[in-house]
Amino acid sequence: MNVTIFVPRDSAALALGADQVGAAIRQEAARRRIEVSIVRNGSRGMFWLEPMVEVKTAQGRMAYGPVSTGDIASLFEANFLQGGEHPLSLGLTDEMPWLAKQQRLTFARVGITDPLSLDDYLAHEGYVGLRNALKLEPGQIVQQVADSGLRGRGGAAFPTGIKWKTVLAMQAVQKYIVCNADEGDSGTFSDRMLMEGDPFALIEGMTIAGLAVGSTQGYIYVRSEYPHAIVALNDAIATAYKKDYLGNNILGSGKAFCLQVTKGAGSYVCGEETALLESLEGKRGIVRAKPPLPALRGLFGQPTAINNVVTLATVPLILARGAAYYRDYGVGRSQGTLPFQLAGNIKQGGLVETAFGITLRALLYDFGGGTASGRPIRAVQVGGPLGAYLPAAQFDTVMDYEAFAAIGAGVGHGGMVVFDDSVDMAKQARYAMEFCALESCGKCTPCRIGSTRGVEVIDRLTAGEERDKQLHLLRDLCDTMSNGSLCAMGSMTPYPVLSALNYFPEDFELKSSR
């Protein structure tokens, strides 16, 4: 009897000892002379249960977690290889409510398959989209993506179909597909989980993008802090080349698409698309002025479709099941699903892919289970370090790009960082400016100097120096930054600052007087 055991290879699981757990299982099985196959799958996205080990049984995959090396002997004793009961038992994975309530479209395979197995990928609807795309004219592929309602998942939510249509219309000797995998927002990890857990989905999505806009060369710009993602991508790309899913003759179609991974150099602003292109060209990662848009003059001055990981990885599904299938999820102009990421002071952190339209409250409480500290949630920062801090009064807002814009916030890349009532929001506002000062590329003046001055003004404000003057100055500075900055780094830093100031003014009072 050869039992298949799943031990995640996802960074979150690795950080919690998944490699050691895997080794211990192998060792214990050997000691007991039991044959086991260990599959290193992606993560199911329930970080509080990692490392979560699954065993394939006749009833389905049974989950145990969080597993540590000290639990291995007792798991064997409890006959976990047949799904035996154990204090760490979580039951059938598919029936776990946290997962069952989700609508996993982009992440359908993540945690289920062996990320590096092309066969596994093919067995789970992989490359159906590409095969369909190969039967279509470029314009038809673009139309499908446009009809699906897919918008840029990196944060800007620009309609992907329109971007692709622009690139397709350009005449050029060489066009490029660039994947922005410089996922630097605090509290976000969906790109990483996907690249580590289902790299072929991204490769397939980019290949389809290449067919759609007439590009034969793609680059994935991955932040250097994601070494495991880089390994997984390179491994999968090598396999794809070997099996003609990449190269000069994709699946015998005579069409070409080549793909390469490039490692970033540790700059947050390189997640901004034009700075990313500069960096990819080997230059300092500073932001370019727009226009021209990258779709017109992007990488090396050529028309370039630059999209986020999740955007591109969603494309195979759209081509496999049709635009309508995807479009039927979601609300209003926010169609499809978004992999939300719960982080910070949260009891059940992890990845929740669900259709747009769910409330913030449902994510925080139904999925997240409130704070890890057990204290009330006071504020949530949605959409990364440039996102607004939202107070409890706004937790009933539905996750929808337009609804968030209406309250002066942004969904962004779908990350949320939770704070309990012990948070000092003046400190958070200061941190927003400090983060901007640390990560500003230094090109435009409002961001380059403004962020440093912002820290100084908040310091004077919280020290009670000329309070009214500093408050006025801080608001003026935020005006200058939001209206004058060259890119989102400087222009969105005022969101966390002003939301903290507006929703939590009491935190900006002189501490002694509070």
Partner: protein, 949 residues
């Protein structure tokens, strides 16, 4: 005269046939498609505030002062990076914009020292101006936050460069300097280090400017909006109060410069942005190395002496001129009419050169006039006249912007013609292909963002074999431009040439052993030249200074005709002329066989015209060339020389031969601003004037005639043209011109290609390219458009004849010579400036292999011996040269570079074979005997100068 300020339109002009109409603050303006909103506004007379934008650089969008509002659009787009669109309604002023701009300016000033009143840029600071424009009244952040200017934070001023200083405390990080270094100069020496608030301008790897790759072109200084990068003279003297536009007196690029003045003192020279030769760029020489004009070595008094062992005696102008005239007449009486002659200078103005040749022909009564072009581009004049019909380059500099293939032969533009090199580099960065034919790995072979497609590293002296082999490939592979040839060229000469080049002996395979150029590479390069689109040839002295210099020039013209690369923009045959007015001095009749406009003295119609105008009979026989004059002096038949602004004792080959000839003469009149090497053999010294001290015109390598304008009175009292007049009058041939403009009137009247030239027109157009006449009243940017000047283009057979200067076991290496960026020609000017900090002696470049064989290490004294002589230089071991070839420059007289060069010369024009001298090297411990004698002789001559005082 006021201080001229040019309008800064913020972004470069766009070129398009399609005009867009839009409204800016209600004003309607039409601009070409591609123009920025900022440019459109400026053209409508609306100056949008800006700091990071300037119209010599691509828009950058960093300062955020130029934000505007566009009807129907959200936000505040930057006007510099937003293109104008049809029908746009743009507002440049609103309460929101005012607040935004003030907010940005408040941030700027919060990190800028408040020392305006004591700042060198005071009164000419864009930051100061913009603070005023946006109405900044308060810096609410205070001045005590994080900054880069207070005692604890400021990085020390970098004063390492002799001409400008870099004060990071004043830097606003607009990136203009970094962009200028990249876009304008193409050196990429500057960058921004760090990020965010710590983004700082850095030279090289955060080095001192002098230790970085910086070439001191001054482009960064020119665009700096503050006092961060600023001329040291401005720090010392203050801001100028008036200015004049003039023309650089260094190389043949002929940059237009703006001399900024306080009274009679130059404060700084800045490139003039409307100068068509340089379009607002300059180099370390023209921009900064003008201090020689007021150097204490300047000779300001006329002097005479009977023998060159006598002490000099200062005399009045009248006495000096009378003495010279008397001596010339005495010599002619004793030795004959032809025993005297004159040498004109390519550093003097057209008007001055014209007067000297007129003096020789009309007052001396012979044709013994020659010029320094004899030793540089005389083969160009000859070769292009024979093939195309005119002795000049075919294009304007701008033409390079349309070239798709650049074939660079025997020229080193980044050192010799740096401002044009920058333009060429820009074109290369934008995609033109490059073929370099040069024995040495010049900078353009590989430099930042530029790499030659082919570098044909030939053996010195084998040019003709290489160019003929390229022609062989073009003919034998069917790459000829048959239609062009049929329409534009002589069929007989073409057929003969075609038969000749097609011979197997001329194939790359057959010549490979001789030239050292791999046949496959040569074939590929020839194919690229013939088939790569617009192909332009640029060449220098590496073509002309050979025993077959003229043959090579004709080979180049053949190649261009055979591929149809003549007669339109983007193509052509372009000699890069060495000195500022070498084209002009040739145009002005400096050669013994030609009147102004390249008309032979034997042509009776032309001669009659001059005889009538000048009122004297003229000789129909050509006079002596410089080498003939030297030979005749040694024979005893040539005794008197009027040498204006040249230094043949340093610049001409085989120095010992030249100085022996000078020593043999009875009256040498030297007119120069310094006591040059030739003056050490002179009997009359007439102090000259610098280009700052007189009016006139220079003609650059693209036939562009530009004005030289007097910004100060002649320090010795007279300009050269006035002294030549006085000498002529003393000789009994009257000359009366009230000013140089009147001389130009005479030139125009007597020279068909100059018929339409006058000062009023040059002032109006800025400059004009000859031919300028009734057919081309505004001048001629590109020549030979519909037909060649000679009618049909003539192919000439270019049989390769190896030079006599061969390597032997005794002289196993070939010496070739060239230039360095910071020094100019004989160095008389640049050696008397801080440019010596960049290069203070001529070095001998030697390949590591050859050095190793001889036990020579970096910096060793190396004895260099040729058949002509021996000198000693310090070794610079470098792979820029190939094994078997050594290289040096000739900027310092004590180097004696020309002691080694030989009397070999071009068969047609006697242009010396500077580029090929067989030598042997040996490690030594002291300078050569010649050098020691030279030192002693120079010291004696200086003592003779001081003795009288």
């Amino acid at each position: 005269m006021n201080l001229q300020h040019e309008i800064d339109y913020g972004t470069p002009a766009s070129v398009s046939d399609q005009l867009l109409t839009l409204h800016i603050d209600g004003k309607e303006i039409a601009v070409p498609q591609g123009a920025s909103l900022m440019r459109a506004a400026a053209e409508a007379g609306v100056m949008v505030p800006k700091l990071c934008a300037t119209d010599s650089l691509e828009p950058f969008g960093s300062c955020r002062l130029c934000l505007v509002e566009i009807e129907g659009r959200r936000g505040f787009p930057a006007s510099c990076t937003t293109p104008a669109e049809q029908g746009m309604q743009v507002r440049t002023q609103s309460p929101q914009l005012a607040a935004l701009r003030r907010g940005v300016m408040e941030l700027y000033i919060s990190d800028h020292p408040l020392d305006c009143l004591t700042c060198a840029a005071n009164g000419n600071c864009e930051l100061q101006t913009m603070a005023g424009v946006v109405g900044l009244r308060e810096v609410r952040y205070g001045m005590t936050g994080a900054n880069h200017f207070d005692a604890n934070s400021a990085v020390p001023i970098d004063a390492s460069n002799p001409y400008f200083s870099f004060d990071p405390a004043k830097c606003i990080v607009c990136n203009r300097c970094v962009r200028a270094c990249e876009e304008t100069q193409g050196t990429f020496a500057l960058t921004i280090s760090g990020r965010g608030f710590e983004s700082r301008v850095a030279a090289g790897q955060s080095q001192l400017f002098m230790q970085s790759e910086c070439v001191s072109c001054g482009a960064c200084v020119a665009v700096c909006p503050t006092a961060t990068l600023i001329e040291k003279t401005l720090i010392e003297q203050g801001q100028a109060e008036h200015s004049a536009i003039t023309t650089c007196a260094y190389c043949g690029v002929g940059c237009a410069l703006k001399a900024e003045m306080q009274g009679n003192e130059v404060v700084r020279m800045v490139p003039f942005k409307h100068g068509k030769a340089n379009e607002g760029h300059a180099c370390v020489k023209g921009r900064f190395a003008w201090g020689y004009a007021t150097h204490p070595d300047r000779m300001l008094k006329p002097m005479i002496r009977a023998k060159n062992t006598d002490a000099w005696r200062e005399v009045s102008w009248d006495e000096a001129v009378a003495y010279a005239a008397g001596e010339f007449r005495r010599i002619q009486a004793k030795y004959g009419r032809d025993a005297i002659g004159g040498i004109t200078s390519s550093r003097c103005t057209n008007e001055e050169v014209y007067l000297v040749q007129k003096l020789v022909r009309a007052a001396f009564g012979n044709n013994n006039v020659d010029t320094c072009a004899r030793v540089c581009h005389s083969p160009t004049g000859y070769g292009l006249k024979q093939t195309l019909g005119e002795s000049a380059g075919t294009q304007d500099f701008k033409s390079v912007e349309l070239a798709e293939v650049i074939l660079l032969i025997g020229a080193n533009p980044t050192d010799g013609h740096p401002v044009f090199a920058s333009r060429m580099k820009k074109r290369l960065r934008h995609g033109a292909r490059l073929i370099v034919i040069d024995p040495r790995k010049i900078e353009l072979v590989k430099s930042p963002h530029i790499q030659a497609d082919y570098h044909l590293k030939l053996r010195p002296g084998t040019n003709v074999a290489v160019i003929t082999a390229m022609a062989h490939v073009i003919v034998s592979e069917g790459l000829l431009a048959e239609k062009f040839i049929a329409a534009r060229c002589e069929q007989k000469s073409f057929a003969d040439w075609r038969e000749f080049v097609a011979r197997p002996a001329n194939s790359p395979e057959a010549t490979e052993a001789e030239t050292g150029v791999p046949a496959a590479e040569l074939r590929a390069a020839a194919r690229l030249y013939a088939t790569g689109g617009n192909a332009a040839i640029y060449y220098g002295l590496g073509v002309t200074e050979h025993s077959q210099g003229s043959t090579m020039v004709m080979g180049i013209a053949n190649l261009a005709m055979a591929t149809g690369n003549l007669g339109r923009a983007g193509v052509g045959v372009n000699p890069l002329r060495g000195q500022n007015n070498v084209q002009g001095s040739c145009d002005m009749g400096s050669f013994p066989h030609e009147f102004p406009g390249y008309r032979h003295v034997s042509d009776s119609a032309t001669r009659a015209q001059f005889e009538q105008h000048w009122g004297v009979p003229l000789l129909a026989e050509p006079g002596l060339r410089i080498p003939n004059m030297m030979e005749a002096a040694l024979d005893g038949s040539f005794k008197g020389l009027y040498c204006q602004g040249e230094d043949i004792a340093q610049s001409d080959p085989n120095t010992q031969h030249v100085t022996a000839a000078l020593q043999a003469m009875e009256c040498i009149v030297v007119q120069d601003i310094f006591l040059n090497e030739t003056a050490k053999y002179a009997h009359v010294f007439l102090p000259g004037a610098t280009f700052l001290e007189k009016d006139g015109t220079f003609t650059n390598a693209e036939r562009r005639i530009s004005r030289v304008r007097k910004v100060m009175e002649p320090k010795a009292g007279m300009g050269e043209w006035e002294v030549t007049m006085a000498l002529s009058n003393a000789l009994g041939y009257p000359m009366h011109y009230a000013n140089p403009a009147e001389i130009m009137v005479e030139i125009a009247a007597l020279t068909p290609t100059f018929a339409g030239v006058n000062y009023e027109k040059i002032d109006r157009l800025g400059s004009v390219q000859w031919p300028c006449n009734a057919q081309a009243p505004d001048g001629t940017p590109v020549m030979h458009v519909d037909s060649f000047v000679r009618g049909k283009g003539k192919f000439i057979i270019t049989q390769y004849v190896p030079t006599d200067e061969k390597v032997t076991p005794k002289y196993p290496l070939l010496l070739t010579t060239g230039r360095i960026l910071s020094q100019y020609n004989v160095g008389a000017q640049t050696r008397r400036t801080a440019n010596v900090e960049f290069y203070s002696e001529d070095l001998l470049e030697i390949h590591p292999h050859d050095a190793e064989e001889r036990g020579i290490k970096q910096g060793d004294w190396v004895g260099i011996e040729s058949r002509a002589g021996r000198t000693v230089l310090h070794a610079d071991i470098s792979e820029r040269v190939q094994p078997g070839v050594v290289y040096t420059t000739f900027h310092f007289p004590e180097s004696g570079s020309n002691v080694i060069t030989t009397d070999n010369s071009d068969w047609a024009t006697n242009c010396p074979e500077y580029k090929v001298t067989a030598v042997q090297l040996v490690r030594v411990t002291q300078p050569s005997a010649w050098q020691q004698n030279f030192k002693k002789f120079s010291r004696q001559q200086i003592e003779l100068l001081l003795g009288d005082a």
